[in-house]
């Protein structure tokens, strides 16, 4: 297993290099002249030329990429054109909010998706099965930002059960330890902050989870149905085991192995989808930062945030592969 992990970690290096290359090329080949963008409309030609020289933009592209990589390895992503702060500082300030939202959504999607999928499979062709699969079909067809707006209208404006926007009520922010409000409030024993953070997470978390929930429910249903046809399930029934025991101990454990992969892959979708959900709910995360940076032509921030999400996506995919190899004894570590 250790050899397999080391091999997979080594394979991560070219992928990360490739990801950096793609982000670098998109930002350098298509965005025009970064020096002119940085100086704004009123800059003179001489000023732009001087800045191009000092930034090394007149050098060949491969040298620029080499410099970019070198700076990247030293944690230097440049400076934001808007805030004038290092891009890394801006990213790290927003990243916990996005991670908290994405993991909360993943939790909702997994718990509800797996539960619905299992019940739909066990009660195949029942009313619940049809209803849940129609719901799943709608879940993959509905734009998540629209669902977010509908949830705001129903639960925040009409029923007034939950807050419209933000991460927590103003003044209740827990002392910063990790930047994740749920964890920080738990670590400091601040229950008021904890419940406020949970209340603020429910609507954006549900909107973001809808698509993944639908995918997980459909996948769980089909894998459980496959497993229920197996001989060893018939044997378990024939031995006189209780139905629930057969489902939990014999069917579910085998059926959920491929579901784990789907769940893991959904985290990547959730990180991408967070851009939309954060915009709808004014969630101060990486998504909002990216959209604002694009609208303000702040390319260093766009470059940094896209790179950060891609790296997280790649690392999560690797972890899913390792988890899959660990869970499924049929996979050899070669």
């Amino acid at each position: 297993m250790l050899k397999y992990i080391i091999k997979r970690l080594l394979m991560l290096i070219p992928v990360l290099l490739g990801v950096s290359l793609i982000v670098f090329l998109i930002m350098h080949l298509f965005t025009g002249d970064p020096a002119a963008l940085m100086l704004g409309q009123h800059a003179t030609e001489a000023q732009v030329t001087a800045l191009r020289e000092s930034l090394g933009l007149n050098e060949p592209l491969y040298l620029q990429f080499g410099k970019f990589l070198w700076q990247l390895l030293h944690g230097d992503l440049g400076r934001s054109l808007m805030s004038r702060r290092p891009v890394l500082d801006d990213l790290l300030a927003c990243f916990p909010a996005t991670i908290e939202l994405a993991f909360f959504s993943l939790l909702i999607a997994t718990v509800l998706g797996v539960t619905v999928g299992v019940i739909a499979a066990v009660k195949r062709y029942s009313f619940f099965d049809y209803l849940s699969m129609i719901g799943a079909l709608l879940g993959v067809s509905m734009p998540i930002f629209w669902l977010g707006l509908i949830l705001i209208i129903v639960f925040a404006v009409n029923l007034q059960w939950l807050p419209v926007a933000g991460r927590i009520e103003i003044g209740l922010e827990p002392a910063r330890i990790t930047g994740l409000y749920l964890m920080d409030s738990l670590l400091t024993g601040n229950w008021e902050a904890f419940f406020s953070a949970v209340r603020h997470l429910i609507l954006p978390g549900t909107a973001l989870a809808a698509y993944s929930m639908a995918i997980i429910a459909r996948m769980t249903r089909s894998t459980v149905l496959e497993v229920l046809k197996e001989d060893y399930i018939r044997t378990a029934h024939a031995k006189g085991l209780a139905k629930l025991r057969v489902i939990y101990h014999h069917a579910l454990k085998n059926a959920l192995i491929p579901v784990v992969t789907v769940i893991g892959l959904q985290l990547g979708f959730l990180l991408g989808g967070a851009v939309l959900t954060e915009t709808v709910f004014s969630w101060p995360g990486l998504g909002s930062l990216t959209v604002n940076a694009i609208l303000a032509s702040d390319y260093p921030v766009v470059q940094g945030s896209v790179l950060l999400v891609a790296v997280v996506f790649v690392v999560v995919n690797l972890l899913v592969d390792l988890l899959y190899a660990y869970l499924d004894p049929r996979i050899h570590y070669q």
């Binding site: 930002f145 990547g268 891609a310």
Partner: protein, 293 residues
Amino acid sequence: MSVEISPQLLRRNKTSLWWEFWDDFKRNRIALLGLIILGLLLIVAIAAPWLTPYDYQASNMPQSLKPPSAEHWLGTDELGRDILSRIIYGTRISLRVGLEAVALSLLLGILLGACAGYYGGITDSLIMRLMDMMLAFPPLLLAIAFMAALGRGIENAIIAIGIVAIPEYARIVRGSVLSVKENDYIQAARAVGNHDFQVIWYHVLPNVMAPLIVRATLGISAAILEAAALGFLGLGVQPPEAEWGAMLGSGRAAIFSAPHIITFPGIAITITVLAFNLLGDGLRDALDPRMKQ
């Protein structure tokens, strides 16, 4: 000794394959429903100028944010424009973005996938590693990055969404090319002097069409959702064009006083995407031999 197959026999064989597919497909009522919805949407898109009760771009401030009424069936937006007329015109944009983006990714995906699979070696490695790298990004985020670089507008949205989906098609085509290229009929086609392009076009690609058609149909729904997302963020189609996502984005500020403004464009997106998903699922069931068992 040579064997001659009459053109009539070939035609009958092709026709019977088509009928076999249609028989399988039409038995799936839900997929048929998807096809009917798409047919209606296509009619709406083509006949938009005759169906719209008002000019979809004409502002009428005294009429702004009016709820649905006999005069304006779906109400008016923040500039007093008729929402029904804008949704009808939006059908054109959404279908155009979906179809053109998928056409772009299909074209480049087939080209890259066929080259990678057919030539193998360094060509294969270079192309497929590039595809792997693109798959390392969440699709929407990569599309957003392209939009940041290319600038806003419908054409750039089509390019961004199209480029992002290329790896999926390239992988399908490459896999199929690899599985058929060593077959005798491919060797025979080469031996009689066909160019590489002729071999790929006439002998390899027809074997890949089934999974490609299914993927492309589902790809259109993904492209429509991504275009709506870009429009919502203000990066895609620009005002005063009536794109459904952009309508949701511009109407967002008024949701507390006039919730109808975001309700109907969202329903339009959901119905269109749902129809393509139903059709895609139906095509997969009819074209995939494993699903028939």
